[in-house]
Amino acid sequence: MARFFPQNGLPCLMPSSPFDSVRQVFRSVAATVVPEAVRLDEQGWTELEQIIAQALESRPAGLRRQLALFVRALDLLPVFRYGRTFQGLDAARRNAFLLGIQDAPLLLLRRGFWGLRTLIFMGYYGREEGRAETGYRADPRGWEAPR
């Protein structure tokens, strides 16, 4: 394990990402959920994935396995509709496919996608740069902060 410096600035051991085994699929899904993520460099992706890994560190190992399995399923399910894996689809079809999953008749699929998109948002907007992009400027000094 490498050393990782989360936002509180205190060093800790880097937790492993649940998406290590499906990294490329995960990144394709993440870039469909947050289109700006395509601009992330390797360091940005690592930061995003580490935020998620840290959030899941205290969760049961079974949950982390389920998440990886769900991402793998997202890659394979489009084969039945488009004849290609998720990674083989263009951006428009990736979007259409995930919209279908978000609206799936099966609660399990909807919940799985809701959980995954939540983690992606956490990873993306949890980064200093992601937060800054939105224009959010809250400051503990409140009205006294220069704006």
Binding site: N8, P11, T32, E36, I51, L98, G135, A138, P140, R147
Partner: protein, 499 residues
């Protein structure tokens, strides 16, 4: 196992436990041993940095991600010295007479509750913010309500020296919010009450409680526990449970005490909520200033409440429906966003309850009734009208498909925002007003405690938190919890049976 002995042990340090601790300060001054056990840590003032991803996981149970068993709603509740009073916005509403009388709890005197709530409101500096400290996010709500034919009301809040950081839900970085961590617990400790943090109550036995004190994890926020890590068995003359509407029923269910009512865990309610956002043409002041200064009470007429709010980027992103370009566009409009929190006034119904899994962990079962869905839809429609009346260009409504309504769609609000789009697992629903599970009533067949929180059939065991509510309170609950906790503490001091 380390053995300790106390006269009174209080489990939990939030609105309920903190209040009981203060009220029992006299006992401590008289030489009795009073102990508060808090599962979460105590924080140094300097640790409140206002950063979403460092504060939320530190302050909230399950890092803010507690999901119902159905996986369709997240429940937010604090886990810290001061409980959820550390992370709420300080909104301090008097107990609503209509609701309290409607509960029909024998012996629960409304005027007693009201006078106790007034005492705590005064103690915590509850007041209305002056107009010059209100931001545009709040002012636009008032303006929109007026134009849409509603009357917004101002929230009394318990702040002293509020700088308007807007970060209340991450713990005030300026020590302005007067939760129990600022008022009642310090007063109790000055009187000699002992508070032990990172101390999880595992099980209750006959006049005893088993506790595990956790070690502080390296790199985590919060101070180490006052006691050495390990397991303790604490004997007590009386035990007061104030570990929240989830923690208290779960602890009782784990303990399986003989004679306990079968109603433990039943009657859970929570005000299911959506966060709505609307985009204005120009930047507004939204991420500075107190975030929750106004509300619209439509509980009687339409079964909902609307409250102003302002959340942080990740929380906002998670709560907006959808993904991709439309979602990103709205996120990047943050400086122009107005937000409203819609809350449904749900009722206690069979099946919505707190249980424990085979490891003893709390599990909350909650299904949205058709009435709750209808309330959320009515609330969302009303919010859309208010947003457009306030001048918003587009409104994001999770129960619309697609979720963005442009201004020219305002006449079609009722058609666009519709119950057919409320799909569980697709729409984000969260709740922070967790109530019930150890409801008050007349006897063990209909309730867990009497109106003073005395557990039926177990004279040394009391409850003093929101789990006492036999049904929804229909407003923000903190002052009512404090008032009920004050009553429970007063009765404990009167009773001699446990001593």
């Amino acid at each position: 196992m380390i053995e300790r002995q106390y006269d009174v042990v209080i489990v939990g340090s939030g609105a309920g436990g903190g209040t009981v601790a203060e009220e029992l300060g006299g006992l401590a001054r008289d030489g009795k041993k009073v102990l508060v056990l808090e599962k979460g840590p105590r924080f140094a003032d300097s640790e409140f940095d206002g950063r979403e991803l460092s504060m939320a996981p530190s302050l909230y149970a399950e890092e803010g991600g507690f999901l119902t068993a159905e996986g369709t709603m997240t429940l937010a509740f604090g886990s810290a010295y001061g409980g959820s009073t550390v992370v709420y916005t300080g909104t301090s509403m008097q107990p609503p007479e209509r609701v309290i009388r409607g509960w029909g709890v024998p012996g629960l005197d409304f005027s007693d509750l009201e006078s106790r709530a007034r005492k705590y409101a005064e103690e915590n500096g509850v007041h209305l913010l002056p107009p010059d400290l209100l931001n545009e996010n709040n002012r636009l709500f008032v303006e929109g309500c007026e134009k849409a034919g509603y009357k917004a009301e101002q929230f009394p809040i318990n702040v002293r020296g509020c700088k308007g950081s807007s970060l209340c839900n991450l713990g005030c970085p300026n020590a302005a919010k007067q939760g129990t961590h600022r008022v009642q617990l310090p007063a109790a400790e000055r009187a000699g009450v002992e508070v032990v943090t990172r101390a999880e109550a595992l099980r209750i036995e006959e006049r005893a409680i088993l506790v595990r004190v956790q070690e502080k994890k390296p790199g985590s926020k919060g101070l180490p526990s006052e006691w050495a890590p390990g397991e303790y068995r604490i004997k007590a003359g009386a035990i007061v449970l104030a570990g929240s509407a989830i923690g208290t029923p779960a602890l009782l269910l784990r303990s399986n005490l003989p004679g306990l009512s079968k109603r433990v865990g039943e009657g859970f309610t929570c005000h299911p909520a959506h966060i709505l956002a609307a985009e204005h043409a120009r930047p507004i002041t939204n991420d500075v200033g107190h975030p929750k200064s106004f509300f619209l009470d439509r509980s009687v007429e339409e079964g909902f409440l609307l409250e102003t709010c302002m959340y942080f980027p990740f929380t906002t992103a998670k709560n907006l429906a959808g993904f991709g370009a439309p979602h990103s566009k709205l996120m990047h409009a943050f400086p122009r966003l107005q937000m409203i929190l819609v809350l449904a006034c749900d009722k206690a119904v069979p099946g919505n309850r707190v249980a424990v899994d085979r490891t003893g962990k709390p599990v909350v079962h909650y299904r949205f009734t058709p009435e709750v869905v209808a309330s959320l839809i009515r609330a969302t429609r009303a919010s859309a009208r208010i947003f457009f009346a306030a001048g918003a260009q587009r409104v994001h409504a999770p129960s619309a498909d697609p979720p963005l309504l442009e201004r020219d769609e305002a006449p079609a609000i009722d058609e666009r925002i519709h119950g057919r789009h409320f799909k569980e697992g697709k729409i984000s629903v969260s709740a922070a007003h967790l109530m019930g599970g150890c409801g008050m009533g007349s006897g063990p067949s209909d309730s867990v405690t009497d109106s003073y929180g005395r557990v039926h059939g177990i004279p040394w065991l009391r409850v003093a938190d929101a789990s006492l509510f036999p049904d929804s309170l229909e407003i923000n609950p903190y002052l009512t919890i404090m008032a009920l906790a004050g009553r429970a503490a007063g009765k404990l001091l009167e009773d001699k049976a446990w001593q």
